[in-house]
């Protein structure tokens, strides 16, 4: 009798699990509501995007994850978000100066990492996009990225029984529209938070820095933090950092958004978390590694008034100083984030 009760309880438990989870066989990809709680890291400011009108929920997150890794978003079903936003590179495109999208077309800018997005006031190198939710419309509709229309993506999703199921699970009814599609993607990308690097541990007193790393941190504070401000390592401003415009790319930077001539060649200051993983660097990916970046700042001399004064102030760096800075920048690599199973491609295990 006792065993019967235990057995029945066990069966009921299994039934409960099965009914509440999409994961059939691999617990690595299981997403619970605890996995999608928003935890603001200590010392981080108030986020710009707060999920207030997009309530975090495991089923919506799972839908967003499937969409993120699904070629269905592209016109010929060959490209997905993860094609250029690779988890191993903090969702940048590792070792790609510029990225190749649909029909092997090459873009004009280096793929930025996807991390700590909810603390950004704008998106894109030129800050043209004002809300996390509408950001994906760009790659989806860009003729050189996915070359698709939102309307056609929706037609494809409505025909797909898996998506019909996932939208139903996520939103408790059968409506499939662009708002839900975009909000699901925002849940998936908005929870990509990197705040557990060795630098963070050091700040909390839970890790120690080597001599070089300490020296690098102190140099960074003197020379870099005016723009790359802690804890996100960006002040979200647009600046001309003195790299000459690549005339083949016709990229006017922030001016393309504001129409203000003074914004020419200004680009958004990138956050530096996981910077060792997101090479090559700069908006056009011209620098292959951090040393090339530091060489640029160290060697920069110009009377060009459009270049940000903070760049002019850096001054020459010795090789030892560059080594120390690189040692420090390497401490910004966050393995917890890079190996976070929640953001892995579930490939079928939705």
């Amino acid at each position: 009798m006792k065993y019967k009760v235990i057995f029945t309880t066990f069966i009921l438990f299994i039934a409960f699990i099965a009914g509440n989870s999409f994961i059939v066989d691999n617990p690595y990809f299981a997403i619970s509501n605890r996995d999608v709680e928003l935890k603001i890291p200590r010392g981080f400011p108030k986020p710009y995007y707060n999920f207030e009108k997009n309530k975090l929920n495991a089923e919506v997150f799972v839908l967003g994850r499937k969409l993120f890794y699904d070629n269905i978003l592209s016109k010929d079903n060959t490209v997905n978000c993860g094609s250029c936003h690779q988890r191993i590179a903090a969702f940048a495109h590792i070792d790609h100066r510029l990225s190749h999208g649909i029909y092997a077309k090459i873009g004009t800018r280096n793929v930025p990492p996807l991390q700590n997005l909810i603390w950004k006031d704008t998106y894109m190198w030129d800050g043209g996009v004002n809300n996390l939710e509408v950001q994906p419309i760009n790659p989806i509709t860009s003729p050189i990225e996915m070359d698709e229309t939102l309307a056609n993506v929706l037609i494809k999703l409505r025909r797909d029984s898996v998506y019909v199921h996932l939208f139903n699970k996520a939103y408790k009814d059968s409506l499939i529209n662009s708002e839900r599609l975009l909000k699901a993607l925002a849940q998936f990308t908005g929870l990509m938070i990197s705040a557990n690097s060795r630098y963070d541990q050091y700040k909390k007193g839970k890790d120690t820095f080597s001599h070089d790393e300490k020296r690098g941190l102190s140099l960074f504070m003197q020379k870099c933090s005016a723009c790359h401000t802690e804890p996100l390592f960006t002040d979200n401003s647009y600046r001309n950092n003195g790299i000459q415009a690549d005339t083949t790319l016709h990229d006017r930077g922030r001016e393309g958004i504001t129409g203000i001539a003074g914004d020419r060649n200004r680009f958004k200051v990138p956050g530096l978390r996981n910077i060792a993983m997101t090479y090559p660097h700069m908006h056009d990916g011209r620098f292959r590694n951090l040393r090339e970046v530091l060489n640029h700042y160290s060697d920069f001399r110009s009377s060009d008034a459009s270049v940000d004064p903070a760049i002019q102030r850096i001054g020459p760096l010795s090789e030892n100083e560059k080594n120390a800075l690189i040692a420090f920048l390497n401490t910004l690599t966050d393995k917890t984030f890079l190996y976070d199973r929640r953001f892995a491609d579930p490939s079928g295990n939705y």
């Binding site: 009108k53 997009n54 894109m124 043209g128 996009v129 004002n130 809300n131 996390l132 939710e133 509408v134 419309i137 760009n138 509709t141 229309t149 939102l150 309307a151 929706l154 529209n177 662009s178 708002e179 599609l181 975009l182 909000k183 925002a186 393309g256 958004i257 504001t258 129409g259 203000i260």
Partner: protein
């Protein structure tokens, strides 16, 4: 200025006599000068004598503000997409407007700044309506497209996509229509109706006459102001 009433039919659907919510049928009729707009088939002339045809005319109207003499104004913070191609979109049925005599109507052409920054939205503001700039976030307030031999663009097309919600290119324009001595009476017994005449020729002149040769394309906020200023006087209350 006028307002007329269509008897009976609307009330019968409402299910009870004590509906505080009354109906107003607000229609937008598109003209080119004195002629009713016909897409593609009819050749028109602009202020400068340049011939053209129209293939697309659609725009957002948002945030109605009906002013009442008694100070009981009615504010409707919503956006509507009016599209020449879709007849039903040119007629707005406003259910929640309270009873009263209204002396003027304000609205904006376009979408207010809040809704330009609110992320993914549905209904009229769903980006699938193709009235949205993705790369420089913001709604396209108005699209006028057509052909003119004076335009040297490929296919002789001209294309005016007007938008921009923030400085230095804030092209949200507020329209105020005075209903004059003949107020708009909205009551519970019958459906009130108001027709707004939209003359798209006004978009192409005053203060700036638009030359299809010189300006065949506007498709960024920074260049939109000229035409936005032009269309401020495009809306008139129909006089019968």
């Amino acid at each position: 200025m006028f307002c007329f009433a269509v008897g009976g039919m609307a009330v019968s659907f409402s299910g009870g006599p004590n509906v505080a919510d009354c109906r107003l049928r607000l229609s937008f009729q598109h003209f080119v000068g004195k002629e009713i707009l016909q897409l593609d088939s009819v050749v028109y002339k602009n202020d400068l004598g340049q011939t053209f045809t129209v293939s697309k005319f659609k725009y957002y109207i948002s945030n109605f503000h009906f002013k009442n003499q008694n100070g009981r104004d009615f504010y409707l913070p919503a956006s509507f997409l009016i599209n020449e191609e879709m007849k039903e979109s040119r007629e707005l049925l406003l259910n929640s407007i309270p009873e009263g005599a209204y002396t003027s109507i304000d609205f904006i052409v376009g979408v207010d700044s809040t809704h330009n920054c609110s992320g993914a939205q549905s209904g009229a503001l769903d980006p699938v309506n193709a009235m949205f700039w993705a790369w420089n976030t913001g709604y396209i307030f108005l699209k006028l497209e057509g052909r003119s031999l004076f335009s040297k663009s490929p296919g002789n097309f001209f294309e005016y996509h007007i938008g921009g919600y923030r400085s230095p290119a804030n092209n949200i324009r507020k329209i105020s229509l005075d209903l004059g001595s003949q107020k708009l009476f909205v009551g519970s017994q019958q459906q009130a109706a108001l027709e707004i005449k939209v003359d798209l020729l006004e978009m192409l002149k005053t203060p700036t006459s638009i030359d299809f040769e010189k300006i065949p394309v506007v498709n960024v906020a920074a260049n939109s102001g000229l035409i936005a200023d032009n269309y401020c006087d495009m809306f008139k209350v129909a006089v019968k």
